[in-house]
């Protein structure tokens, strides 16, 4: 018993050291693997925006910034345009090639996971930034919002790829 007490301070220090080391390893891991590797790149639209991309991808919805998804996702999206989330959005081969190149060249540069979701709303970074603490369910149900794909309902500069906090206005 007394032996145990004598060792207690040393054991406490050791235990704290181990905890500390474990926590910092976890944090370092977090930093490297933010959102489990499903992290978006710079959302702002590239300065040299492709005119075909701008024109074709903003007909039915906003032209989502290429940085929001990894290159593999964009390749998948662009190879299935004849069935694009329930609609035929097919392009000519030449248009498709030009837009795919632009998307791939400007895709997320912070994505390290092997995943390649088709929907921006399925990415870990999106889910984290729009979790139920941030965005209560009622907001998604507002008819002015309609769908989580409707970025511009709240992000007023979404078409320019500006998702900064100061440009958020949640509709009443």
């Amino acid at each position: 018993m007394s032996k145990c007490y004598k060792n207690f301070p040393r054991r406490l220090v050791a235990a704290l050291l181990v905890m500390g080391v474990t926590i910092s390893i976890a944090q370092a891991g977090d930093r490297a693997e933010k959102f489990s590797g499903e992290n978006r790149g710079k959302p702002v639209q590239p300065a040299q925006i492709n005119a075909k991309f701008q024109q074709e991808c903003s007909t039915c919805h906003i032209a989502y910034s290429p940085g929001l998804l990894p290159a593999t996702s964009w390749r998948k999206v662009m190879s299935g345009l004849d069935k694009h989330f329930g609609s035929d959005a097919s392009l000519t081969d030449q248009e498709n090639k030009e837009i795919t190149t632009f998307l791939v060249n400007n895709a997320s540069n912070r994505w390290s996971a092997s995943t390649a979701p088709l929907r921006i709303t399925e990415t870990a970074w999106f889910k984290h930034k729009h979790d139920s603490h941030e965005i209560p369910q009622a907001i998604w149900k507002n008819p002015k919002v309609k769908s989580p794909a409707n970025c511009a309902a709240c992000h007023q500069q979404a078409d320019r790829g500006d998702f900064s906090e100061r440009n958020i206005k949640i509709p009443k």
Binding site: T59, S87, D88, S90, T92, K146, N150
Partner: protein
């Protein structure tokens, strides 16, 4: 000499007027219709022309899928529509309300392919396209 100058001046004025009168369209909606009509005459044996009434009914009816043409372009194609899924505004479909409609052959082909696939799961026949365009041309602003 004076006469020559006059001709040049007139030509220049015509050119300037052409430039400021707005974007030059590749075709008029009537030319688009004529081109569909020549396709229809080739594709349909006993082709009897287009019908606005048939076009209107085709436009407003669903064809086995969730959407009709009117789901996005509305029951009154002279007014702006709204994408049934994304809610994005669609400019009026009737040429009387939107001078750009049916003036770019590439766009006409692209959108007939896409939208017929969404509404009917197939391409539209020249007869169907011609009926719809004939109907749209009767819609007044």
């Amino acid at each position: 000499m004076f006469r020559e100058f006059n001709v040049t001046l007139v030509l220049a004025l015509v050119a300037v007027a052409g430039l400021i009168s707005g974007p030059a369209f590749a075709q008029t909606p009537e030319e688009a219709l004529a081109s569909i009509q020549s396709d229809a005459a080739k594709a349909t044996s006993g082709f009897k022309g287009f019908s606005a009434a048939r076009g209107e009914s085709f436009f407003k009816t669903r064809h086995g899928n969730e959407w009709s043409c009117a789901s996005c372009h509305t029951e009154n194609p002279a007014t702006p529509g709204k994408h049934a899924k994304t809610g994005k505004v669609i400019q009026p479909f009737a040429p009387s309300a939107n001078a750009e409609r049916f003036t770019d052959p590439g766009k006409v082909a692209k959108w007939f392919k896409r939208n017929c696939n969404d509404v009917l799961d197939r391409v539209c026949t020249p007869q169907e396209k011609g009926d719809v365009l004939t109907y749209l041309l009767t819609v007044k602003k």
